[in-house]
């Protein structure tokens, strides 16, 4: 009797609401649930409710939000921590859990996969330590090999995909050059095609660490160990000087007939150490992270840095996204992923810090469409999916056996990653509304 009463007293009246579409909807009725359920319990309750209506329902993990915060503990504790009254009927919003539902076959490379780019929904670009770039149409099917570099590729970027026929990609390499490739992804051939660069960008004095393209595709920027960020033109038309160099190369090597060389349009100088990463999210704004412990925002027109965030750690990666595409996420030589809001006046302290990794962070990427989601890859072999609304990772992808060197979103619902185990891994089925 007593037990019963206690049980009753610990029951909460909740109402499940969702913005999801019909198959996921549950009747908007108040249900009494025990207060000690966790996310898993809530998820099974919702699943059972849906299943009662729809017998062909397949169990689906859900995540739950109360007042815009994800539940990561038992409901009781959550209410206590947030000071929400348990008397009235709680309204719990549920979303599909952000977690990969499907792990695709790894695509084996010959060497470490140092760069992954999933900007184009049609293919995945990878850069490898065997100095080759690869284009993967899907898991296990490599359509193009981008060859020409003499050193490990450190970064790949999609330059231009407006053109339906051909796409332009840029690769940065430790041989101090960047190369621009053009290929047609629609070529439906079973065998892989080898592609040679149409343009070689020389000018860096040390390994190029990162490359990023302007939205329009006319320019790319690259960062290097020589502490500079160089901007390059991507068009094929060459000036006189460049053609001369082409002729020279023709004499040396008959195979590189179509290659031209480019020189840096301008250099952004200011960093004092290796510039590890650049992103070019807007027309004339470049963000860069460096081993000199700073994140800078560059104004392309003036060539000056308009923002200088000091972090205290050597940084490996930077990305801009989130709310209004203004939040800066950066990770580096410690296991903490930091997110800054440069719009916030008077402070350079990070607004979010995610610290579930156990080693250096090698990559972080904002989700293209969501304001809240970002991923981070670390040398501890894990990729973590983060939501700004909770300090815990939404999901941990632990498929790599070694360091993860690069990761990116693909098609909005997959995570592609490459690591020191020489594999490209695709984790798909991530439901981000």
């Amino acid at each position: 009797m007593d037990v019963d009463r206690e049980d009753v007293s610990r029951r909460l009246h909740v109402k499940f609401v969702t913005k999801l579409d019909s198959p996921f909807k549950v009747p908007v009725n108040s249900v009494a649930i025990p207060s000690n359920v966790t996310r898993l319990g809530l998820s099974s309750i919702v699943n059972s409710i849906i299943e009662s209506d729809n017998p062909e329902w397949k169990t689906e993990p859900f995540d739950f939000l109360i007042d815009g915060e994800l539940i990561r503990m038992s409901l009781e504790e959550f209410l206590l921590a947030k000071g929400i009254s348990a008397e009235r009927t709680l309204e719990i919003e549920y979303i599909r859990a952000v977690t990969p539902r499907k792990e695709e076959e790894p695509s084996l490379h010959d060497d470490w996969v140092s760069a992954v780019n999933g900007s184009s929904p049609r293919f995945i670009l990878t850069g490898c330590y065997d100095s080759l770039g690869r284009v993967w149409r899907s898991a296990g099917s490599c359509s193009h090999i981008l060859e020409g570099h003499s050193g490990a590729i450190s970064s790949v970027a999609l330059v231009n995909s407006n053109d339906a026929e051909t796409v332009t990609v840029a690769t940065a390499s430790k041989d101090r050059t960047l190369r621009l490739f053009k290929f047609d992804p629609a070529e439906s051939v079973d065998s892989t095609t080898k592609v040679r660069a149409y343009k070689i960008l020389r000018g860096h004095k040390a390994s190029v660490q990162s490359v990023s393209a302007q939205k329009s595709g006319n320019m790319v920027c690259s960062s290097s160990w020589d502490c500079t960020i160089n901007l390059w033109n991507t068009n094929e038309s060459t000036s006189e000087g460049e053609s001369v160099s082409v002729k020279k190369r023709k004499g040396n090597n008959q195979a590189e007939e179509s290659q031209s060389e480019g020189e840096a349009v301008t250099s952004l100088v200011g960093h004092t150490q290796c510039v590890s990463s650049v992103v070019w999210p807007e027309h004339d704004v470049i963000y860069s992270s460096s081993w000199d412990h700073s994140v800078r925002r560059w104004d392309v027109e003036t060539g000056k840095d308009s923002l200088n965030l000091f972090c205290g750690k050597a940084l490996n990666t930077v990305d801009v996204g989130g709310e209004g595409s203004a939040l800066i996420a950066a990770g580096g030589s410690d296991p903490i992923l930091r997110v800054w809001d440069p719009r916030k006046p008077g402070t350079s302290a990070p607004v979010f810090q995610f610290s579930s990794h156990s080693s250096w962070i090698s990559a972080c990427k904002w989700h293209k469409s969501s304001w809240f989601h970002l991923l981070s890859a670390s040398y501890d072999g894990k990729i973590m999916l983060w939501d700004l609304r909770t300090a815990w990772p939404l999901s941990v992808i632990d498929t790599h056996n070694d360091k993860v060197l690069s990761a990116d979103w693909w098609k909005g619902e997959s995570v592609v990653s490459g690591g020191a185990d020489s594999n490209l891994r695709i984790s798909s089925g991530i439901a981000i509304s």
């Binding site: 470490w112 430790k174 040390a206 081993w291 750690k313």
Partner: protein
């Protein structure tokens, strides 16, 4: 009349004696004392006077003169005081009375013939002289010393209390009277010689002053000594008042007159005294020694209650307990009983402020309960008896932490390497040596498996492997970024490897430098030590030494390289010049076995560490060492120099590390003993104030080593972190800082290189 004369004469003799004058008429010369002695001594003198005047220490010269006649004597007195003339007549009047008495006395005193004989010996006297003396005494006021209050007011206390003080007492106003300075004996003697009145001077101990006795006082004393009435005006021979009526009595009680012996000093007594005096003088009678103050005190006595304390002047007795009043009665009047409100207010008070006793009423004695604190107090008493310490100890309670030197918090000294995130795996043997390239992008490592590997710092990727046959002893990147050459030492060979990094132009220069086509002929002096050879294996240059290489160091300009051959003795250190491809010996002699060498980071100094010392040579000035740093270590294993060039760190095989501030001293500024085993290497960061040591105990220590530009401020050394992680077998063999980040690379015998980040 003769009797009178006799008495007067006797008086005269004493007087002359006391004035240091001896009458010629007397049978014996009278001894003279310079100062009047107390009565006891006077007795002795009298004895001398009568018995053995000749043996006295009398000195005739010091006397003012001899009195030849009585007249002269009287003159002497007259001249002294004119006032005495007047009294002479009175004296005469009195004297006649005396005369009468004498007559009467002499009748019975026949048996006392001895005294009579003596008296008869004395010379004739005339009565006027005697009378003048007496009259003088009469006129003198009797209590002169009472009128003059004494200077000192200490009262009747033993003067030895002030023996050791600077003062003798206090005057009437309460001020201290300081002692006079003691006169020199010689001075005082001379003073006495000069002063004719000296014989009358007495030292008054009580007032600490010299008192000059007046003549009257002298007379007074003489009388006392003689046993006479002190005052002259006392008449011993006053006329007898016969109160007895003789007329009626048939048989008188006694018709005998007063016997003479009653008023004459006993001769036999004098003889007895004389005997005693003689005995004392000859030492037959020994007096007891003066009793010494017992120098003991009650050790266990309570100070507050001891007698000594109570005897002391400043003793203040403790206040007596208040007697119980009405309120402490068992049944006090109602007005003593506190009201309810008062009781309540007592409850609110602090324990200390609350009154100790609150009156209570009991109707009868029987109803009084037992003392409530009885048990508690008896318990406390028991604890007292057990010497149970219950009060707070007065022991100084020093927190051991507070004795530690004040060091800044580690948090304030960030960044420093503290956790390992990256490992560089690939070697199959113990990694003996690592070196970072100047940009910090690459590191090179050498291992006992004979391989030299080049790693990408950022990812831990091994980029290049050079395989050799021998275990690698040393690798060193050329400090110039434009000359990406790696020097590798193994066994007796030194290789220059082209890392194939850098731009194309840089590569061309590098290849040119490492071109082995035209190696010049070696100079004769070094031909026996080294040979430059082309390296067939990797197309560079190799230098073959005559002994195995133990250590190498690049000069900052990247052209010179020093190699150390530990067993090479005096030829153990050579300098190679890469651009000219030649070798030279050091322009100075090395004493002892060289262990490692260092180039100064900015000047032309060259450090050579032998097993026990570090010597600093100037490369431009050949000759002796400019400085010798005494480490005090048993065996030096490694050293590193601060980029400023003034501070040197030396690691030793006994686990000690010395920090030398070369501006300060040739002795270590600090010696740090941290490692239980050999220190294998030490490193200093190029830009951050950090230094590190690694040891065979498989730990690496990171220190904060701040060097200030201010010469007055000594370097600040703070231990920061112990870096563990390498497996315990073999320890950590090398450590190097990242050139730009506060990171530390450690090479372990477990074939792993670790990167510790901040």
């Amino acid at each position: 009349m003769t009797k009178k004369k006799k008495g007067a004469n006797e008086d005269k003799i004493i007087e002359t004696k006391s004035k240091n004058v001896s009458g010629k008429s007397q049978k014996q010369k009278k001894p003279v004392e310079k100062e009047l002695k107390p009565v006891e001594e006077g007795l002795k003198e009298e004895d001398l006077l009568q018995e053995s005047g000749t043996d006295s220490d009398y000195d005739g010269d010091s006397l003012p003169g001899y009195l030849d006649s009585d007249d002269f004597d009287s003159d002497f007195f007259d001249s002294e005081d004119d006032g005495t003339q007047e009294g002479t007549e009175d004296g005469d009047v009195e004297f006649s009375d005396d005369d009468a008495l004498d007559h009467e006395g002499s009748i019975d005193n026949e048996d006392d013939d001895e005294s009579e004989q003596v008296e008869s010996d004395k010379g004739e006297e005339d009565g006027s002289d005697e009378g003048s003396e007496r009259g003088e005494a009469v006129e003198e006021s009797d209590s002169s010393e009472d009128e003059v209050p004494s200077r000192n007011t200490v009262g009747d206390v033993p003067l030895e209390w002030y023996k050791d003080e600077k003062h003798i007492g206090y005057d009437i106003t309460g001020k201290k009277i300081t002692k006079k300075e003691k006169q020199d004996k010689l001075d005082s003697f001379l003073a006495t010689m000069d002063d004719s009145k000296n014989w009358r001077k007495i030292y008054d101990e009580y007032n600490d002053e010299e008192v000059e006795l007046t003549k009257e006082e002298c007379e007074l004393m003489r009388r006392i000594l003689k046993g006479e009435a002190p005052h002259a005006d006392f008449d011993p021979y006053a006329p007898y008042v016969d109160w007895f009526k003789w007329d009626d009595s048939i048989h008188p009680l006694s018709s005998a007159p007063e016997p003479k012996r009653r008023f004459i000093p006993s001769k036999w007594e004098a003889k007895k005294v004389l005997k005693l005096v003689r005995a004392i003088r000859k030492g037959w009678i020994k007096f007891d020694k003066p009793e010494e103050e017992p120098n003991v005190y009650l050790l266990w006595g309570d100070d507050s209650t001891s007698d000594q304390k109570s005897k002391h002047l400043t003793y203040i007795p403790p206040p007596k307990m208040k007697l119980p009043g009405h309120d402490e009665s068992y049944n006090p009047s109602l007005e003593y009983i506190p009201t309810e409100e008062e009781k309540a207010s007592y409850e609110l008070m602090y324990e200390e402020d609350r009154p100790k006793f609150i009156p209570k009423r009991f109707t009868s004695l029987r109803s009084i309960p037992a003392y409530e604190n009885a048990l508690k107090e008896s318990f406390e008493r028991c604890l007292d008896l057990y010497l149970c310490p219950r009060v707070r100890k007065k022991r100084i309670n020093i927190d051991p932490e507070s004795l530690k030197p004040k060091l800044p918090s580690r948090k304030d000294l960030r960044p420093y390497p503290n956790s390992c995130y990256l490992e560089y795996k690939g070697h199959t043997g113990a990694v003996t040596t690592i070196s970072t390239d100047s940009s910090g992008e690459w590191i090179a490592s050498g291992s006992t498996d004979g391989s030299v590997r080049m790693w990408e710092v950022e990812t831990g990727r091994c980029l290049k492997v050079w395989q050799f046959d021998e275990a690698i002893m040393c690798v060193a990147w050329n400090p110039l970024s434009r000359l990406p050459v790696l020097a590798v030492a193994m066994g007796r060979d030194l290789f220059f490897l082209n890392t194939e990094l850098g731009t194309d132009e840089e590569q061309e220069i590098t290849k040119e430098r490492l071109h082995s086509g035209n190696i010049p002929e070696p100079e004769a002096s070094v031909a026996a030590i080294v040979t430059w050879l082309p390296d067939e294996l990797y197309g560079g240059i190799k230098i073959r030494h005559f002994k195995s290489i133990s250590s190498i160091d690049w000069h900052r300009k990247g052209d010179y390289l020093s190699t150390v051959m530990a067993s090479g003795e005096t030829r153990g250190v050579v300098l190679h010049q890469l651009s000219k491809q030649k070798t030279q010996r050091l322009p100075f002699k090395i004493r002892g076995l060289p262990v490692c060498t260092l180039f100064h980071p900015s000047l032309s100094y060259f450090f050579v560490a032998t097993r026990k010392d570090v010597r600093v040579y100037n490369l431009l000035k050949p000759g002796e060492a400019t400085k010798k740093l005494e480490t005090g270590l048993r065996e030096i294993s490694s050293m590193a120099i601060h980029p400023g060039g003034d501070n040197l760190i030396v690691g030793s095989k006994e686990g000690k590390m010395c920090w030398f501030d070369m501006d300060l001293s040739s002795k270590p500024y600090k010696t740090l003993k941290n490692h239980p085993k050999d220190i294998t290497n030490v490193a200093v960061h190029r830009s951050y104030p950090l230094f590190a040591s690694c040891s065979e105990d498989s730990t690496a220590y990171v220190f904060h080593g701040m060097v200030y530009n201010d010469l007055n401020q000594n370097p600040l050394i703070v231990p920061l972190e112990i870096l563990r992680g390498h497996s315990s077998k073999g320890g950590v063999l090398d450590c190097k800082f990242h050139p730009r980040q506060p990171w530390l690379f450690t090479a372990g015998a477990d074939s792993i290189i670790k990167l510790y980040c901040h």
